[in-house]
Amino acid sequence: MSSPRIEDLDSQPWAGRTRRYDIIKEGTIALLVVTLLTIAASMFFGSPDDKQLTFKSWAAVAPSDFYQTAAHEIAGTSESAGYGAPYNSASDGVNLGPLHLAKIFGVSRPVNSVNDFVIVPLSTQVNTPEVSAALKTWNVSDSKMQQGWASKYDDALTKANGDQAKIPAGALADFGPVPAMISGLLTMAQSGSLDAVLLSQGNYFQFDNTKQTLFMGDGNYFNDQSTASHLQGDTWGMMNETGRYPGQAWLWLYSFWYQIPPFNNGDQHPFGANADAYIMVIMGLLSAGLVFIPFIPGIKNLPRRIPIHRLIWKQYYKQENL
């Protein structure tokens, strides 16, 4: 137990030796140094600004990937279509043990892959007679019929590795209006109008890019660009930046958990499949731990036990013979 006199020195105003100190001068010099360092770094290195991807560039560079992704969307087999809350109720989403936290808060940002990504965009423009007829057929059909066409086409396209030419011509009747609709959507993307329509969804003002991001994320084009830029989560992606620039290095601990078992064990492992939730909780606890260090036994005593403070106050200890 410490005595009250020992308590005093830490909490009372310092009454020992002092030295002259000009806080305004120190602040001014520090600001000048930082400003000059920033200007120098900006002049020599600039800053990253890799051009954003668009649906137009996707449809131009990787049309078959776009086409197959659109087939997944209309069949409801894309990642976003089966995501769960907050976008839809197609699945329970990730869990944290027995808890499905996202599901508790429901579908707060509804996204309907078929309507939002395919039907609404096609309906906003004047289509070719073939696409118009296909859209009309789709709209007057019941959902069972729609799902049947879309699933069959999605399966056939997957078996053909996305190559429409490999699908037997005789099977086309099974797919109803779906191939014509997807072709219409591809043409729309290639013209550039899909980018605007996905964002606006019939509105004038719009700030929410959720639908575009989900749709683009369902394909390989976006993913491949990210891999080429070393931004994938399993390669410390969250703390990386495009080009040769430093990224969010301060997220190293967050990225670290994704690199080690059990969180990198793949989607078949419960911790791998639900790594996002577990890592968010771990980081929340560690952040709280940082703030509450003065109260954590063991940790709060480390500075005394590991004498780095002897280096920091070397001069003081020497002068005071401590």
């Binding site: 020992i6 830490d10 900006s42 991001t213 990210s226 969010q248 996002d276």
Partner: protein
């Protein structure tokens, strides 16, 4: 001061302020002799970086989010913002580690440590939203990846990283306000409580109790 004046909230607040943070503490011209290590400069360097971040950020905000893609001047100002953030975090992490090894929460300085710790977390949130509003490929990918983390714990119901409008408002208004208030509180607490004495410091028969709180 009359007893009626003492009842005034304003007078009470003034009294508390004057007792805890007289102008001599706020703008000192001396400091304890033990404050003589280079590690002490990283606090003021962090603060200076924050000034440069805010100054460059204000220019970017006035010109709008697309400006820096289209103009060389805009790109340079964006670079100033980018590098000042990098310097800010480098300085802040060194400052944080320095204060940890000093056990700087000693002597009723727990609030100083905690405001600093919360400011560190708030800085990460502010920088993160900054990366989301770059309106380039990096921000597209970060928003796509990060949504899963926030959605996994239900936060995505309110904090939608793919919503550029929401992220922009949080980045230029709400989070800087929070960070600014935390920083001011932290600096005022540093001035009010003074710089923590060395572990095992000894002065006039009184000894520092070291790392124990």
């Amino acid at each position: 001061m009359s007893s009626k004046e003492k009842e005034l909230w304003t007078a009470k607040l003034r009294g508390v302020w004057q007792r805890n943070l007289p102008v001599e503490k706020l703008l000192p011209d001396t400091q304890p002799a033990y404050v003589s290590s280079w590690i002490y400069t990283f606090g003021v360097l962090t603060l200076s970086s924050l000034f440069v971040i805010i100054a460059s950020g204000v220019v970017l905000a006035f010109e709008g989010p697309s400006w820096y893609h289209l103009s060389n001047v805009g790109h340079f100002v964006n670079s100033l913002h980018f590098w000042s953030v990098q310097l800010f975090f480098i300085f802040m992490v060194i400052h944080l580690w320095g204060k940890f090894w000093m056990a700087a929460w000693r002597g009723r300085r727990v609030a100083t440590w905690m405001t600093g710790g919360i400011a560190f977390v708030a800085s990460i949130a502010t920088a993160f939203t900054g990366y989301l509003v770059q309106t380039n490929f990096d921000s597209q990918w970060i928003s796509f990846e990060a949504k899963d983390g926030f959605n996994s714990v239900g936060v995505g119901a309110w904090f939608t990283v793919t919503n550029l409008g929401q992220m922009l408002l949080l980045h230029v208004a709400f989070l800087p306000l929070i960070l600014g208030v935390l920083t001011i509180l932290h600096v005022l607490l540093v001035r009010a409580k003074g710089v923590v004495p060395p572990i095992d410091a000894f002065d006039n028969g009184k000894k520092s109790k070291g790392a124990r709180t």
